[in-house]
């Protein structure tokens, strides 16, 4: 019997090895559409106004906070935030309920960056999201300050400027309703984010998001992520509310081991 079990385990290991190599092969074959590592991707293009051209459809980016931290950074919650996180149930996850993701969370759908105008310094940069509810962010580039007492919103009030070839976006005025990830990392209306977008080559947008929220975290931390350029994609319709039958079947604490 023991021998039979060992044989079964051996078969499972062989199967897994084959399955894993298949996944790797699949990933590699997908990667063939991209330039090979030996010949680096072309540099980031520029707009007539001289700034890096970030426009186009991007996929990926954002962060699952606890899983893509800047090396050396740690998430240290305040006791109150820890209490909120421990009590969170998966069924209450705003994203599962078709509500916006806020920052830094990103859903598994692409988004389009729009810079306008392009012949002189930008006044606006827009991010159009395919998911979770076709929402958008607007980043004011005209030098205005944040309002004194903004109404709390899902995406907050964003002002941007260029530091060399990096777009720096400073956002305050968030509500406290969205979660940073499936695990339910919380925040308060004190949340302040500083995002740094750098198009490191034609195909790659590096996106670092620093989270500053003394109401929920004892020290700031930075999520580091990357998005991939998808020049052949267009945004598609995605109405999450159309047939969202999942919520009534979701159960368990958000922070369950998975």
């Amino acid at each position: 019997m023991r021998k039979a079990f060992l044989q079964a385990m051996k078969a499972a290991v062989v199967f897994l090895a084959l399955a894993s190599s298949g996944l790797v092969a699949m990933a590699q074959s997908r990667g063939q559409a991209q330039p090979k590592p030996a010949s680096p991707a072309p540099p980031a293009p520029r707009l007539p106004n001289g700034h890096p051209d970030l426009s186009g459809v991007w996929n990926g980016g954002g962060g699952i906070a606890a899983r893509s931290l800047k090396p050396g950074d740690h998430i240290v919650l305040t006791p109150q935030a820890q209490k909120i996180m421990d009590a969170r149930q998966s069924k209450d996850d705003p994203e599962a309920n078709c509500l916006p993701t806020g920052v830094p969370r990103m859903n598994p759908y692409p988004w389009r960056m729009v810079q306008t105008p392009t012949h002189k310094p930008e006044t606006h940069i827009l991010i159009l999201f395919e998911g979770n509810i076709h929402s958008y962010r607007q980043i004011f580039m005209d030098g205005r300050p944040h309002p004194e007492d903004p109404d709390p919103t899902w995406y907050g009030h964003s002002i941007g400027h260029w530091e060399g070839d990096t777009l720096v976006v400073d956002t305050v005025g968030y509500n406290d309703k969205f979660w940073f990830d499936f695990d339910g990392h919380p925040h308060t209306t004190q949340l302040h984010t500083v995002e740094r977008f750098t198009r490191t080559d034609l195909n790659t947008l590096s996106w670092d998001i620093t989270i500053i929220d003394p109401g929920a975290y004892q020290k700031p931390f930075t999520v580091q992520t990357k998005a991939r350029f998808e020049p052949s994609w267009e945004l598609m319709e995605y109405i999450c509310q159309e047939n969202n039958t999942n919520v009534s079947h979701i159960q368990g604490p958000a922070r369950a081991p998975r």
Partner: protein, 135 residues
């Protein structure tokens, strides 16, 4: 039994790949350790977001019929992989391997594991490769 053991362990490891595509927590709705294979006839096909769904009637040994609700990825993800709203039709006979819902309802997640009566795998891999690939 041995085969089943292999299947359970394998699906457990493959889960993170699947989870990346969900708009909700996969683990909060489905049990990656409970895999079921169903054979039945399609009664409804919903080409909708956030998830494409189809329903099948499954007959047991005694002739009792149970209707199952099966979840796939989103319209957007499947469209970008070359699949469309005509890939499956009411009346099609399918074999499905899926992760069972945790709440005990007749509901499971079938992404990448749907086979038509003629052996063609659908909603797996990239449709533009021809007959679809294992995923």
């Amino acid at each position: 039994m041995r085969l089943r053991l292999c299947l359970l362990i394998a699906t457990g490891l493959l889960l993170p790949v699947i989870q990346a595509f969900a708009h909700h927590s996969f683990a909060a709705e489905y049990d990656e350790k409970k895999v079921i294979t169903l054979k039945g006839v399609v009664t409804k096909f919903e080409w909708t977001n956030p998830h494409v769904r189809f329903y099948i009637d499954v007959k047991d040994d005694k002739g009792n019929v149970t209707n199952w609700d099966l979840e796939l990825m989103s319209v957007n993800t499947l469209t970008r992989a070359g699949w469309g709203r005509h890939a499956l039709n009411v009346g099609d006979q399918v074999t499905v391997t899926a992760y069972l819902a945790k709440d005990g309802s007749k509901r499971a997640n079938a992404r990448g594991n749907v086979t038509l009566a003629d052996g063609k795998k659908i909603f797996a891999g990239d449709a533009r490769n021809g007959n679809g690939t294992e995923q």
